[in-house]
Symmetry: C2
Subunit: 223 residues, 2 copies
DNA sequence: TCACGCGCTTACACTATGTGCAAGTTTGCA
DNA sequence: TGCAAACTTGCACATAGTGTAAGCGCGTGA
């Protein structure tokens, strides 16, 4: 989201309007998350969220197209952050290495906490599947674009298959690492747990880089 | 496996009720596809589909949860078919090889045609994204189960990450091949086009098997 | 062959979702 | 200060999705 440390920041100038909008947006997701905690997935309506956020039902729909979309914005926030990290990596670095670095950089409590809570509240509830899948796919599209930019000008510039397959696989492996981590540790955010997440992400990218050769490749847990 | 009636029939005994249900289901998807052709995505309602299929609106919802779900059943049909092919492969074969074989076996006009038309009608229309992503994810879960079964008893039985990452990557690469193929050929089902699809699927699996080492790996088109 | 039971279809009613529109309110700017 | 643009809100309306109970068609056993 925002890294507003010093006065001379990248933003042009956060006007009052934009601050209000950001605040409203935040109020909506907060309210939605609170209701998810309190009532469980599928047991509250847009009207409930709007009331809890102190806005009208109509205004809710000015921000999000559905309850799901409001909750998925949490996932979007995390993944957008990941993309941002990815774009910071040097362009001549192998993409797998960049992805590994970007993901590991994101494995800190601040960034993972909302995601972990969302997962713990929606686990094995297909009600959440739709917008979450869409969020990951959006991220995939971003990775695709980064990968394409990097390959621009190289001999294989036009190899769409390579770029599509790579982007999709990177996302799948990142997702797999997150999923395994959550299955093992639940919403545990302790340093040891986060270290394991980092190792899983590293291992997942390594699997991709080695073509899934050895079924027992990792240092993170070998049965 | 053997019933007295038909020579090569696998079903236990298609009763009249089941035939009716199958027919209705088919009528619904046919009607939905026809409306998609005629009016474009998002420009028709459940009521329209029901009317075209000769059933009530309520009955539609007895079969599908939404218009999207009705159309996604086409994708589901294709992917279920792929899973079936995958399960026919010998259990000691490498999974990538099995996936390659299963996918190539599915690259025939009969199986691909409905999928190709659906793609051509919904391309760059996010209205279709949700249920389609869900269909792919369902397939991913199936591949995951197959992979887990195959590794049961091997030294790496408990390596969840490996299985999750592999299943996800296989799906992503299959998806990538289909996407590239459609971007190149559109709804072209000529033998040459299908041969290219097959080659793309093979190349995609090869990329996965070689860890995406060479950015210019394929025989399918190198710019 | 017939009648009973069960499953599927349907109409109805109702809640929730999502959107267009116009009026009211706040913010930016000259 | 005053105007214009952006944002919020209430209202109306079309559509989605579901529970319920009555009606119809299919399978089955007497």
């Amino acid at each position: 989201m925002s890294t507003l440390d010093s006065p001379a920041d990248a933003g042009p100038a956060p006007s009052r309007r934009e601050l209000n909008k950001a605040a409203t947006r935040q109020a909506i997701t907060d309210a939605a998350l609170a209701l998810l905690r309190g009532k469980g997935p599928g047991n509250f309506t847009v009207e409930d969220i709007a009331e809890a956020a102190g806005i009208s039902r109509r205004t809710f729909f000015n921000y999000f197209g559905s309850t799901d979309a409001a909750l998925a914005s949490i996932v979007h926030g995390f993944l957008d952050n990941a993309i941002q990290q990815l774009r910071l990596r040097p362009a001549d670095e192998p993409l797998l290495e960049s992805a590994r670095a970007a993901l590991v950089a994101l494995a800190d409590p601040k960034a993972v906490a909302p995601l972990a809570e969302l997962f713990s509240l929606t686990q094995q509830s297909p009600l959440m599947a739709h917008p979450e899948l869409e969020a990951w796919d959006h991220c995939r599209a971003q990775v695709f674009m980064v990968a394409r930019e990097r390959l621009a000008g190289t001999p294989s510039e036009a190899d769409e298959l390579y770029v599509h397959a790579l982007a999709g696989s990177v996302i799948s492996c990142g997702k797999a690492a997150m999923e395994v981590w959550f299955n093992r540790r639940g919403p545990d955010l302790s340093p040891a747990s986060l270290a394991e997440l980092r190792q899983l992400l590293i291992d997942a990218m390594a699997l991709l880089g080695t073509g899934f050769t050895t079924p027992a490749p990792s240092t993170s847990r070998s049965s």
